[in-house]
Point group: none
Chain length 125, copies 4
């Protein structure tokens, strides 16, 4: 699977999972009707407490991204993609905006910030 957990960045693990599932659906990597890994399987794979996975999956059901397939597991809802695309925009914009705000409040000029953006973007794989 394609989930990456960062144990050290302070973002709750279940929250990282929720986001990554949404991103995968938005991006089409996970498509409607597709089954996602079982709680146990993913817990083992990521070496994470099953409760944490369950919590993420629960939230994704509440947010109408996943739905249970009677006794067999969870699948991506067929109306999930547009919802996830929207969610992704919102989440990313908010994340980026708050980083930019901190930069400007720290005294960085817009020019310095733009330069920093380009440097960092270029440095990413």
């Amino acid at each position: 699977m394609f989930f990456f957990i960062d144990h050290s960045n302070g973002v709750p693990i279940y929250e990282q999972l929720v986001r990554q599932v949404k991103y995968a659906v938005a991006d089409g990597v996970l498509s409607s009707g597709q089954m996602i890994p079982s709680v146990r399987q993913l817990a083992q794979q990521l070496a994470i407490n099953p409760n944490t996975i369950a919590r993420a999956y629960g939230q994704l059901q509440t947010e109408q991204v996943l739905e249970p397939l009677r006794g067999r597991g969870l699948v991506v809802r067929k109306d999930a993609r547009s919802r996830c695309v929207k969610a992704r925009s919102t989440l990313l914009a908010a994340r980026l905006r708050s980083a930019l705000e901190e930069c400007l409040q720290s005294g960085l000029s817009r020019e310095e910030l733009t330069e920093l953006f380009q440097t960092e973007l270029a440095a990413l794989p």
Copy 2:
């Protein structure tokens, strides 16, 4: 004074204070030898518990940004600025980088990301 506390963003208050003091020193808003507000005074002004301020000030001493004038208060160390400029770069770069990483991992292309950056930057005051 020029400190703004966001009680809702999950970042610990003492951590927000530590950063903002560093930014202020880096930016020259606080300069060497200058006294910073007393624990009690700042606590009252920000409506925050004095212990929380003291914790931030303690950390800033450990990081050699502030030094005590025994019994009189805390001042910015004379060698603090370059240290804070460096710290600011590190902190902001890390913050921005992790936001960009999330954007790219979510499936956004570099072009979309650059566009998002410009939109968000333009929207900020």
Copy 3:
């Protein structure tokens, strides 16, 4: 457990704990991966406020001696020993040096000081 708190020597309790944990790791009494007592447990055992323990544990994380297993507790980092050996040397040398300095500045000769050292060392259990 093997921690001893001296409430009367002026050294902050959390600082005594930080040192003793470092010494225990340096000495191999605590080894990598080993869990340390929980905040509440140690607080009860030493009849100390949990906050004080938490403060010491927090500092030990900052200094990369301990790391969290989220939701389960704190363990000694696997690279902590060499760090603690170094820290122990530094701490003890500084402590001893400052005692020796005071002795010499007081007018004691090196011979008298050496004699005092031997007497005191012999008197210790």
Copy 4:
């Protein structure tokens, strides 16, 4: 004068002064009947709050090391020397002992400690 104040070692300034006066008397650098600097003069010279000097001098009177010379200042009592020699022994022995105790408790062997002692002693001016 021959007083050295270390603002960074945590020992209260007045306590440093009290000790140093006792050491000077014990060592014969200050002898009976000799006047010591006035509160104001010493405060200015050491760039220290006069209250702090006054507190140290007060304690030295209580401990029968100094006595007032009606309206003209403080002098070393004529019976002060033996008292100070005794005090010096006690103070230095206690200081050294507590350093040695910490060393042994940290896991250092007596041999390592003796070696450390010799190294540190040799390194002092």
